[in-house]
Each structure stands twice: as C-alpha cells, then as structure tokens.
C-alpha cells in the first residue's frame, strides 16, 4: 500500500517549450504521470507553459496552469493551490531546476510541500559535479579523472597536469549546453569561458576524455522498499564523444557479453541506491572496448529522453510507474499494463532490436556548424523496431523524412576521399551515409573502425546492406527485372530495403517492384512489443513489421480508421501535430470507431500504447503505410492532423485506391498547387498579393519586374518556410534563384509581392457547408516573419468590423470552395486596410492546440467528427466567428539558437523556432509579459541597451528608444544609429563597430556590459557580418536580442505596464473555460 497516505494533492511540473535537448518526451512522461496519479485518486495540479501539449488539456489534470515555468510563477501557484507534494522529475531539467530553487527559497517548507520521487540532496548530488564525484568515490564507482572549476585558469592548470583531449561540462544545463571537447589550450579557454557563463551555478567539470569508448546507458527504477530494476540498456552506435541525444542508439546492447552487461547493470543499480531515488534514473557509462574498465559519465535523477525511448523500446511505461512509486507504491504492487497479469517488478526481455536516429535541423540551417560533439543539436528522433539491425536501421533512415530511403546520400559518391574520411572521423549528421560510402569504396572494416570508433559489429551490418545493394544493382544491370527472384526480394526485405530504394538503385519502376513482390506473396507480418519476449500473453496491441512467418496483428471486424502521425519533431513540424493526432484518435474512439495510429516518433503521446486501439510503430512512407492498410482494411485514412508528413501521403495513398477521410485529395492539391489555387482565388474574387509561379530564372526575374520589389520567393510545396526569402532587388533575386533553389518546371519557384502589414491567422472547421471560426489571431511581427516565429495574440485587436466581416466571408467561401471537411488554416496580411490571402493549409496547423485551449472549442475533436460526416449544427455550433472571451492569450516562439553555432538569429520568412509558449491574462501587457517570461526572454527592468538598426528603421526606432530611456535605460550605439539617436535629443554612448577596433560592440557584449540588444537587418538579405556577429555574441552570452521593432515595441509596453505596478493573476484552465 502507498506509504505516503498524506499526499492527496500533487503538483506536477512540465518541461515548458520544445527546445533542443527537451522535446516531446516530457509531454509523454508528464501526461502519463498525471493519468497515473489520478488513477490512484490523487488530485493533480499541473504547471506548464507549453500549450501544444496533451498534458495541458483540461481533462489530463484537475487544475491546469499554463503559466511561465519560473520560480516566481510556480511559487504563486503553490501558495494558491497548497499541494501536499511536488513531483519535479517528469519535467526534464527545467522541472528539476525549479524544484531546487523553490526548495532553496524555502517556498516548499513554508507551504508544507513534500518533494516526491527524488530528494533535494539527490538532485544536487547528481547535478553538482563535486558532490557527484565524492559520492562515486564513496561507493567505489569509477569516474574519469576530473576537476571542478569556477574559473578558466584553473581549467588550464588541470590540463597541464592531465593533458588533452579534455571534456568541458557545465553544471546544470540542458542537453550539454555549452560543453565541448578541447584539444588544446585555446579551445579549452574558449569552451570553458562559455560553459561557465551558461552554468546555473557558474561551474564546469573538466574531465579526462574517454572519447572512443563504448557508450552504454541503463534506465533504472527504484522504489521506497529499495527494490531496483533496470528497464532497458542501450548502446550508442557512435562512441563516447558525441552527445547521446545526437547518437544513433540501439536497444538492447549488441556487443556486450553477459559479464559486461551485468557489470554495468550492477553499477547502475548501485548508483540509484546510493542516490536514494524513488522513481526513474538514467545512468550513462563508458566502457573500454578492450577491457572491463568502465567509467560513469553521467546520471540523470529523473525521467529523460532516454527513458521515453526505453519505454517505447520495451513497452514498459517508465513515467507511469515512476509516478506511482513517487506516491509510495512499490514495484510489486504495480501491474504490468502490457501483460495485465504480471507486475512492474521485472525486467523487460526484448525479442527484437530497436534503432533510434536523431533528426537534425540542418535542412533548415544550411550554414550551421553541423559537427556533432557534446552539445546536442538534434530537435527530435525516430525509432524503428525489427528483428535485425539492418532492417531496423533502414526503417529508421526512411522515417527521418530527409528524402533518403537507404544508405546512399545524393552527391556523396563524388565527395573527395579526404573529405569523406573527415566526415567519418569528426562526425556530423551524415556520418552513417559516409560510412556506407566508405564501404562502397572498399575501405576496410578495420580502418573504418579505427577512424570512426564505431564498433566492428555495426560496421559489418552496414556492410551487409552495402554488399546487397551492389549485388542488386549489378544483378539488375545484367539481367533486368528477372534478377528480382523471390529469394532476392526476400533478402532485400529482410534487410529492410524498401521498394523505392530498390527502384533508385536499379532504375526499375517502383510500382513494378511492388507488383513483383506482391506476386511472390511477400508481405510483412506484424509482431507485438510485449515486454516479455512472448513468455506471457500480452494484451496491448503495439506492433512492428518484419518479414517472417507468423502475423500476430489479427484485424478485428470493427469499423476502423487509420490516423497518420507526424514523424520526428523538426523545425516547422513540432509537437502540435502529435497533439492533433492524439485528439483525433480520442474523437474517433468516442464515435465507437477503432483507431489505428502509424507513427515513428518515440517521444510522443501518440505512440503511447494506451492512446489508440492499435499502434503500428512504422516509417511514414507509402510502402510501409500501405502494408498496414492492406492488412487492417480500414474505412479510410485521416491525413489532416499529422502535419505535412501525413498530407504528403494523401496523394500516393489515394492513387493506391485508399480512401482519404475528410477534405478530398483533389482539393488538398488545389490548396497546395499554386496555379490552381490562384485560379480559385480569382474565381472567388478574394484578393492575394500579386505573384506567379516561375519555372526558370528568367521567368522569376520577369515576374519580379512586373509586380515590383520587394518580392517573397520560395519553392512550391514547402514546410516551415524552407528556403523562403524576401529579396529587394534583381541582384538578390538572381543570387537566390541560382544558389538557394534549383528551379525547373518540375520544381517551380513562387514569386509574390511582399506586402508589409499585419499578419492575421485563422483556423476554421468546416463540415463542407457551414464553417466555424473558433478564433482570429494577430501577429505582433509584420508579415515577412514566419508565422511560426511570430508572437500571436488572440483575439485579434487590429481588425475593424468590416475587416473582420471580410475575413469571415473569405474564410467561409474558401473552406466551401475547397470542400473542406475538418480543419483549414489561412494566413492573411492586412495591408493598407485590405486583407490579402497569403497562405492556405488544408489541414490542422501549429496554432490549433493553442486556439483550442483558449477558446474552449475542442477543434480536433469537432473536425474529426466533420470528417466522419457529422455537421456543425448537429454538434451545436453556429456558422462564423466564435465569440471571443474577455481575456487575452499570447503565443510566443522559443528558439534554440544557443545550441546551433553559426546560425543567424534574425527573424525572417524562414522558420527558426523550435517551440512555443502561451501567456494569458485579462490584461494584454500582462499576458504578453507571461508569454515572454515563459519563452525565457529575460527582459531586464533596467540597464544598457545596444542599438544597431538599419537605415530604413531609424525613424521608427526613435520613439521606441525614447520609451526605454524614460524607463531609465542607458543607450549604446554604433556611429550611424548613435548619430540619429543624439539628433533626436536622447543620451547615447557611441561604441566602435567591429572593424573600428577594440573595444568594439562584440567586446562590450562579452564583457557583460549590455543587457539588451536591438539589431535590425541592414539591407534586405545581404549578409551583414557585423550584424550576424552581434546577434551570435548576444545568443552565446545569453543576452536578449531583438531583431524586429514590432517585438521591441511590445516589450517596451510590457515594461511600462510593470513600471506602473500592474500585476498578473494565475488562473487554472478549468476556471477560465467555465
């Protein structure tokens, strides 16, 4: 029985916005935690600033607070709610850090709140390097030689004793922020300086590098009765030296003998016992590949990205079990939800292999430093399950959605040998392809092992695939499609090679290959993830495909539908789409329809085996999806909630004769095909910025000439504004057309007039006839900044009655004309008092979760019912605009710039943010204040502002700066801006531009003399090195940097309100919705 009987009301802290190092895994963990606690009759109070999460739905916790995750706000909520216990281990590092601060400030003691799961001392022991080292020495567990420093000189002194390479790890940061490997004194100084700055306690660990050793992780759970189990171990394909979040990982370990496995398991158990954790813990170890020597690298005393992966890899719900343990249950009292018979006190046995590959954002940030090291850079990850490593790897690669279906990357065959070897040695995101190319070129396994430190076992398996590729290519070259015998096809499939890759390798038509395969009767079977390697009968329908004999996924006779998920989290396609997929599933289940989810993202709620009736953990490409559909025979497929991933599957599925539920494919295409869409707008007489599609460089130039600069240029069919830019003249246009895109009739480029104005966004739900608009949002930043990077305010404040009526009219007519059944998202620009349509997405959008939460309209639920044929009237909704409430909700973007070197932080049409937060209040400036605080924008109340603005912005900036001066800010500016400021009669100190010599702007940023930077782009998109360096310096020194005057104006108004003594309130979702 639970020991902690007094704990009736529990507060759970979420992890806030999605950033690199902290993604959807904490929504999955937190949602499970809330559900598990309520299952045991506890009242749950949840705090999280991220509106795109399932956990912040009103039905997940009893009291949901969407408020900033700062000690100030959380303390207020604690004082209001008076919970008995605080569970801080489900919200990642953010949750843990807040708990530490609240405990240290005495808030928990004052309010009598018990810290659940992990004791405060333990959090400190695991996080504070010195305490950790002392504890490891006490229990006799080895750690690398190291020292803790709080200044750079001490780091250098240690290096003189131990030698290089050395690893620098700042204490208390996320995903290794600010860490790195130093090979010499200069590198050490640079990394240590930055690391000390970023560490919450200004401490860094400098440690002997064990780079090249095997990196192994164990997920461990302990209960209050000191029962300890390991859920899963994992082996990184990439050796120590690359952050585990950036490594390809397999579960279970593959190259460890039982002795090594048990040795490391025993060490992990010893550590969780010494730490006294009641819940989950992650232990990372390095194992010498040539001996039994090992060292402990890191311990996370909480659930983590790895525990989400381990949960999905094994079927063991770590967060759920950890939450029950936190309120006093022991492992032998908690049922194993998968078998329904056994208990949580056991260790999962896998009879398959799991492969995880990170998803990096370098498709969006072409100029970013893409080398992988101790600083995590991936935004998300995919997981694949199969019975061989080869097949798992191949599935994971095609799940990434990077346009690659096998081991060959376009252009890598032409890479010079030296460059290829460098790519293999100093890993970047494309290393796996470089390794395969090395094998193709005849590099030996030994030499590849030598330079990459990837274990020979993995290299041999990659070679199996490469060898088969060669055999296939040559066989078909010699004998045509007759080479594809049943045996060859079976081997291909057992290696995980998809039809499309066979087609790419051989030049044969994919459809023909598919038919050949079908004629052989070669279909995958589906096996169950059951936690026990078939030893017990399992009740949870969680499946993966494999080419073997026995199929365990026996379809039911029920009405059923497939919901396609959205794959890995990436910039432009985040957790919002998982939120939508999950809600669609819930809505279908309400209607009595069996739901089948297909997805490959292990971090998400959608891939929790409890979410749908059946979960298929599979790649989202036509072949894999069709195989499932052919087995399950659903009524149709829902594509509008899984982002662009799912929408892109609509056409191939429809071509294969599969019914797409909701908006017909023809109209999806009409909304996405530029020419057809322009035609439709003309017919409907709805204005849009002038512009057309160009299929050549000359064509683009002609269009630009005709409509006039500036113009917005982008390839058609884009995701998150990829390669979208505003160009101001013919030179810039030419440069864009020749370098950024590869224009052709097959790959047209859209050229539109760039209209400056307010951007307005709506999401609407239609049953094909009536159209409901739950809300209108307005962006703070003028059009030209990607909608995903803009601050959005609901309800819109700038539209007059006529404009609002126009907007409702346009939206309604567009939805009808596009035969929308379900959701549609439309973006408008308000230019010279006239609304123009700038973009239409015939699917759910990024703003749906946010809008659903603040309006109380369960948008996905309603949309799903429209898809099933219900009408808005039947559900009790009126046509048109839903009445707005009397409060304001602000959605603000969150960026991960500190983790991505060489990425420009300025905002533009290309999306750069990784996540979002929401602030809401009855007062606009307080809602804005909350959103900014939640976004981590640490706005100083006083101090020094560095202003460097473009000529075109100089008039506009003066009143803004005057406002700041009135609040007591000091101004510093470079010559041009300084001149304008002093001419306006404001006090300003001039500072040197970079080329004017030291001390210059960069120096004073580094010296910590600047508290806020206002920097606007000088001329169009011309690379302005000073500006770029100022922005990077600000990011790297954690100083807020504003690149839009619209944002700056709003921040000024917030500061003015605070100055006037305005205060905010904290209200749970449940109260303002009622």
């Amino acid at each position: 029985m639970p020991i902690r009987e007094g704990i009736k009301k529990v507060m759970v802290i979420g992890s806030g916005p999605i950033i690199i190092g902290q993604a959807a895994e904490f929504d999955y963990a937190g949602t499970q935690a809330c559900q598990a606690l309520r299952e045991e009759g506890r009242e749950v109070v949840l705090v999280n600033s991220n509106p795109a999460t399932i956990m912040t739905d009103a039905n997940i916790a009893d009291r949901v607070y969407i408020e900033p995750l700062t000690p100030e706000f959380v303390a207020r909520i604690i004082r209001k709610e008076k919970p008995d216990g605080l569970l801080p281990t489900l919200g990642g590092q953010v949750g843990l850090n807040i708990a530490v601060e609240l405990a240290e400030q005495g808030v928990l003691a004052e309010e009598g709140v018990v810290l659940l799961g992990t004791p405060l001392e333990t959090i400190k022991k695991a996080e504070d390097r010195e305490l950790f080292k002392a504890m490891m020495q006490e229990i006799g567990e080895p750690i690398p030689d190291s020292t803790i420093v709080d200044n750079v000189d001490d780091a250098v002194a240690f290096a003189e004793e131990t030698g290089y390479p050395l690893i620098v790890r700042p204490a208390y940061t996320l995903g290794g922020t600010g860490g790195g490997i130093a090979n010499d004194v200069e590198e050490l100084r640079a990394i240590a300086t930055k690391g000390l700055k970023l560490s919450m306690i200004k401490q860094c660990l400098i440690e002997r590098s064990v780079a090249g050793w095997k990196e192994i992780e164990y997920e461990v759970i302990r209960d209050s009765n000191d029962n300890c189990i390991t859920i899963c171990n994992m082996e990184n394909v990439d050796a120590v030296g690359i952050h585990t979040g950036d490594s390809i990982v397999v579960a279970p370990s593959q190259t460890l003998a039982d002795k090594e496995y048990q040795m490391l398991r025993t060490a992990s158990l010893k550590i969780i016992r010494a730490l006294g954790i009641e819940g989950g813990c992650n232990v990372q170890l390095a194992l010498n590949p040539n001996s039994f020597e090992y060292v402990i690298i890191e311990v996370n005393p909480r659930v983590s990205r790895s525990s989400a992966l381990a949960s999905k890899a094994t079927g063991f719900p770590i967060a759920k079990v950890a939450s029950k343990i936190a309120i006093g249950f022991t492992l032998d009292e908690i049922r194993n939800a998968v078998t329904g018979k056994t208990y949580a006190a056991f260790e999962p046995a896998l009879d398959y292999i799991v492969v995880k590959i990170p998803r990096w954002p370098f498709d969006k940030f072409a100029l970013a430093d893409r080398y992988l090291g101790t600083q995590m850079k991936a935004t998300g990850e995919v997981m694949a399950i199969d019975r061989t490593f080869e097949a798992g790897l191949m599935k994971a690669i095609r799940s990434l959605e990077i346009g690659v279906f096998g081991l060959s990357l376009k252009g890598i065959d032409r890479m010079p040998q030296e460059a290829l070897e460098k790519k293999i040695r100093i890993a970047d995101d494309e290393r796996i392809f470089a390794v395969a190319e090395g094998l193709r070129r005849g590099m030996s396994i030994e030499s590849l092992n030598e330079i990459s430190k990837i274990d020979i076992w993995f290299l041999e398996k990659i070679k199996n695939i490469v060898d088969f590729e060669t055999e296939l290519t040559e066989g078909v070259k010699a004998r045509g499609s007759s080479f594809l015998t049943a045996d060859v096809m079976k081997r291909a499939k057992r290696l995980g090679i998809p039809d499309i890759y066979i087609s790419q390798l051989t030049g044969l038509d994919e459809q023909e290959i598919r038919e050949v395969r079908k004629n052989y009767g070669l279909q995958p079977v589906y096996k169950m993830v059951d936690t026990c390697a078939a030893e017990f009968e399992a009740v949870t329908p969680y499946y993966y495909s494999t080419y073997e004999e026995e199929n365990e996924a026996i379809p039911t006779e029920r009405r059923k539908a497939v919901v396609l998920g959205s794959g890995p989290i990436r910039i432009g396609q985040g957790i919002e789409f998982d939120y939508c997929s999950v809600h669609s599933v819930w809505s279908l289940r309400e209607e009595g329809i069996e739901t089948i989810i297909i997805n490959n993202n292990p971090e998400t709620v959608s891939t929790d085996f409890d979410t749908s009736d059946r979960l298929y953990f599979e790649p989202l490409i036509p072949e894999d999806v069709l195989n499932i559909i052919e087995l399950e025979k659903p009524e149709g497929v829902v594509v509008q909630f899984g982002g662009q991933t799912a929408i892109n599957l609509a056409e191939p599925l429809a071509e294969a004769g599969i019914k797409i539920l909701g908006t017909p494919v023809k109209y999806i295409d009409m909304a996405e095909d530029r020419d057809k869409f322009d035609h439709l707008l003309m017919e409907l007489d709805i204005p849009k910025p002038p512009g057309r599609t160009a299929t050549s460089v000359e064509g683009a130039q002609e269009i630009a000439e005709e409509i006039g600069f500036p113009v917005l240029v982008r390839p058609s069919y884009v995701l998150g504004g990829r390669a979208m830019e505003i160009v101001y003249n013919q030179d810039e246009l030419l440069e864009y057309m020749t370098s950024a895109v590869n224009v052709s009739p097959r790959h047209p480029v859209l050229v539109d007039k760039y209209m400056i104005g307010k951007e307005i966004e709506v999401d609407a739900i239609s049953d094909g006839e009536d159209v409901l608009i739950p809300g209108i949002m307005e962006h703070i930043e003028r059009a030209g900044v990607h909608s995903g990077d803009s601050i959005a305010v609901y309800p819109a404040r700038s539209l007059n009655r006529k404009q609002a009526a126009d907007l409702v009219d346009y939206t309604t007519r567009l939805a009808r004309a596009l035969h929308v059944k379900g959701l549609i998202n439309i973006q408008y620009v308000l230019h010279d008092e006239q609304l123009y349509v700038i973009e239409v997405n015939p699917r759910s959008s990024r703003t749906v979760p946010y809008l659903s939460k603040i309006t109380g309209v369960p948008m996905v639920n309603v949309a799903t019912k429209m898809i099933l044929g219900k009408t808005l009237k039947e559900l009790g909704y009126q046509n048109g605009l839903y009445p707005a409430p009397d409060y304001i909700a602000v959605k603000a973007p969150v960026f991960s710039f500190a983790k991505l070197l060489q990425v420009d932080t300025s905002l533009g049409p290309e999306m750069k943010s990784t996540g979002e937060v929401m602030g809401f209040d009855t007062d606009f400036s307080m809602a804005m204040y909350k959103a900014l605080a939640a976004a981590g924008l640490d706005i100083p109340r006083e101090g020094t502002i560095l202003a460097t603005v473009a000529d075109k912005d100089k008039d506009e900036v003066i009143p803004i700066l005057k406002g700041f001066v009135d609040l007591g800010f000091r101004l510093v500016a470079t010559c041009g801006t300084a001149k304008v400021i002093s001419e306006a009669g404001l006090p300003v100190d001039r500072v040197n531009k970079i080329r004017e010599g030291s001390p210059n702007i960069i120096d004073i940023i580094r010296q910590g003399k600047i508290d806020l930077v206002i920097n606007t782009l000088t001329r169009g998109k011309m690379p302005e090195r000073d500006g770029f360096r100022i922005r990077r310096a600000a990011v790297e020194h954690a100083i807020p940097c504003l690149t839009s005057l619209d944002t700056t104006t709003v921040i000024l108004s917030v500061l003015q309100s605070l100055e006037q003594g305005k205060d905010f309130t904290v209200i749970p979702l449940q109260e303002y919705l009622s």
Partner: protein
C-alpha cells in the same frame, strides 16, 4: 547448409543450418535472456534439451575462453533467428558456429523464433528433432517425432556430473559441492568467499560426504526431473540437519523431495534472466536468473517444518525454501548468475553465515 526443426505436434520450421551437421532428438525449450548464450550453451541443466533463444541476434560477441559454465556444452541443438558470423568483442576467440561444430551440436537459424516461442508458451514444452545438412528429410523427421513426447530420457544427471571429485583449495570453510550438473560459477562463488570447495559426483553417498568433514554442503543445479535422482534424494535426506546445507535449482528440488515435498512439471518452465522473485521475509524483490522446468508444490512442503521463503511474482510458484529449525535453505533460481543479474549473490554470504552459526 539446410536445417529443419520439427516439433512433436508436427510443426515444421525450415531454416539455415550452422554448427555440426547432424540430427538430435530432445525436449525443446526457450530462453528469454538477451545476453549470456555462451553460459547457456554450457549450462549442464540443458542436457537433453534443444534451446531456442528468443533474442533474435545471437553470437554477436563470439565465444571467449572464460565464460564457460562447464567442461563442455550439453545442449542437443541451438535455435536462433540470426547467428553472427563476424562477432565483435575483445575477448572473442571464435564464433558460436565454430564452437557448436567443435562440439557436434546442430544449430538452426533464419526461422521465426518468436512464432516458436509462442507455440511453446501456448502448448507447453514438447519433444522435437533438429537436423542440419543438405540432405535432411523433413517428412521422415516428422514421422519420427510426432506422437513421441518422451525423447529426453531420464539419466541426465549421471551424464553431466563429474566422474571423479576434485578440490579447489582455500583456507576458509570446507564446502562439499554435490555436482548434479553444477555450473562452474557456483564453485567459483564459494571459492571467492574463501571456501575450500570439494566437488563430488552426484552419486556420492552420505557417509562419503561426511567423511570429508565439511562445514557446509552445497547442492547444485542439474538437468531433468528431480524424481529421476532417488539416490541423491536419499543422500540428502541423510545429511539434512547434520551439516548446513544450501541448494540451488535441482538441488532445491531434491531438498524439497527429501523433506517429503512434491515436485511437478511446469507448462513451459522458467528460462531467462528477468524473473522477479520476492523474498517473503523482507518483502524485497530480486531479479533472478532462472532455468528450470520443474517446481516444488507449495502445499506439499508447508506442513513439514519447512516454509516457503521466496515466490515468483509472475506466477506465484515456489522459488525458495527454508527449514524452520534445521540449517537448510534453498532457492529455485541461480544466485551464481552467469548468465543473468548478480542481485542474489548475497545468498552465498547467507550460506557462510549459516555455517558460522552452526559452528558456534
């Protein structure tokens, strides 16, 4: 090389052969351990059995010279989804296939081992024949195996026990290890605690054991049905109460039978490294390594001065016994691990404590 596995119920699995080219009849079982195939292959308790590994990738880290659990492998066949031809580990000296070939054991790979494990789970352990070679005759194999459940024989302990005893000298307690098919790590574990370990054949009599003047007696694991070793039961009956005694696996079952208890065959046994066992005295759960097809009936011992000390959390079966007044205790699982978790190593320490108490 071709290979086939035919079960007593007529189910045929055809795959790729590895190891020796031969044919064997035996009882087919499955093991869910993800590591430790070398220890499993050489665990004498598998004598008479064809072993299926549910983990699909076997042989990844090869065979090393250190992790053997007996002088040779006693399994009759090895069934895997995929075996690794190019292993990778610093201690590896050869592949699993090479090792099986050297020892005349057939292996089959490239079959749906999960389908096989599910069949055994649903229908129970059964007889089977495994054959390798390009001229195998599946029809004939079927004829030979269908309807012949008892292909195992009953004299396994005598096959695997040492022919002659030997001593591992040390300066601590003297422990006689009765070898019913002992895994080497039992002797190693005792030796590591300072014990002088005298390993004796399973047929050693009570008087012969007493003549060695031991401080403690260790009864080992071993293959088959405990009722097949009446001689050992008799020996143990005579020794109980005289010398502190600790039994593991078959040793545990023999103690139960010697104390008047009863054993029965489990549907498909416990074979793996993840079995949760609850210590009823402390309420603590340990993850244990297991390999047994028989179990002690709980109700058969409770009336006789013996208490059930441990149970399996998965199916509530008896996992440990303790005599209320005499210095005897036993466990069904493997505290010596190899393969499997090291969580129960402390039981050897308890045995030392028991010896110490008795000597006082």
């Amino acid at each position: 090389m071709k290979a086939a596995l035919v079960l007593e119920d007529g189910t045929v699995f055809e795959g790729k052969g590895f190891g020796a080219e031969t044919r064997n009849f035996g009882e087919i079982v499955f093991n869910t351990s993800m590591t430790g195939y070398q220890e499993i292959l050489t665990d004498p308790s598998y004598c008479g059995q064809i072993v299926t590994m549910t983990y699909p990738l076997i042989g990844n880290y090869g065979i090393n010279p250190e992790d053997f659990e007996s002088r040779k492998p006693f399994v009759l066949g090895f069934v895997v989804r995929e075996f690794c031809e190019l292993p990778s580990n610093w201690r590896s000296e050869k592949t699993v296939a090479e090792y099986l070939t050297e020892n005349g054991i057939p292996g089959i790979s490239e079959i749906d081992t999960r389908a096989l494990a599910r069949r055994l789970r649903n229908h129970g352990t059964m007889g089977a024949v495994i054959a390798t070679g390009d001229s195998i005759d599946v029809a004939e194999m079927k004829q030979r195996v269908i309807g012949h459940p008892d292909l195992m024989g009953s004299d396994h302990v005598l096959k695997v026990t040492v022919k002659e005893g030997y001593t591992m000298p040390n300066d601590g307690y003297r422990v006689v290890l009765m070898d019913f098919g002992a895994k080497l790590n039992i002797a190693r574990s005792l030796h590591d605690l300072g014990c002088e370990v005298i390993v004796v054949p399973a047929t050693t009599t009570a008087n012969e054991v007493l003549a060695l003047n031991p401080d403690g007696i260790m009864l080992s694991n071993g293959p088959g049905d405990p009722e097949n070793v009446p001689f050992a039961i008799d020996t143990v009956r005579k020794l109980i109460g005289k010398i502190p005694m600790f039994g593991i696996c078959l040793g545990h079952q023999v103690i139960a039978l010697a104390l008047g208890g009863r054993t029965y065959k489990l549907k498909f046994g416990h074979r793996g490294a993840n079995h949760p066992v609850k210590d009823l005295a402390t309420g603590k759960v340990h993850i244990t390594s297991q390999n047994h097809g028989f179990a002690v009936a709980a109700d058969s011992v409770s009336k006789n001065e013996v208490e059930v000390s441990h149970i399996n959390l998965n199916d509530d079966t008896v996992e440990g016994l303790k005599h209320k007044s005499l210095p005897v205790f036993s466990v069904q699982y493997h505290p010596e691990a190899a393969p499997g978790p090291w969580d129960s190593e402390y039981l050897f320490g308890q045995f030392m404590q028991l010896i110490k108490q008795e000597r006082r």
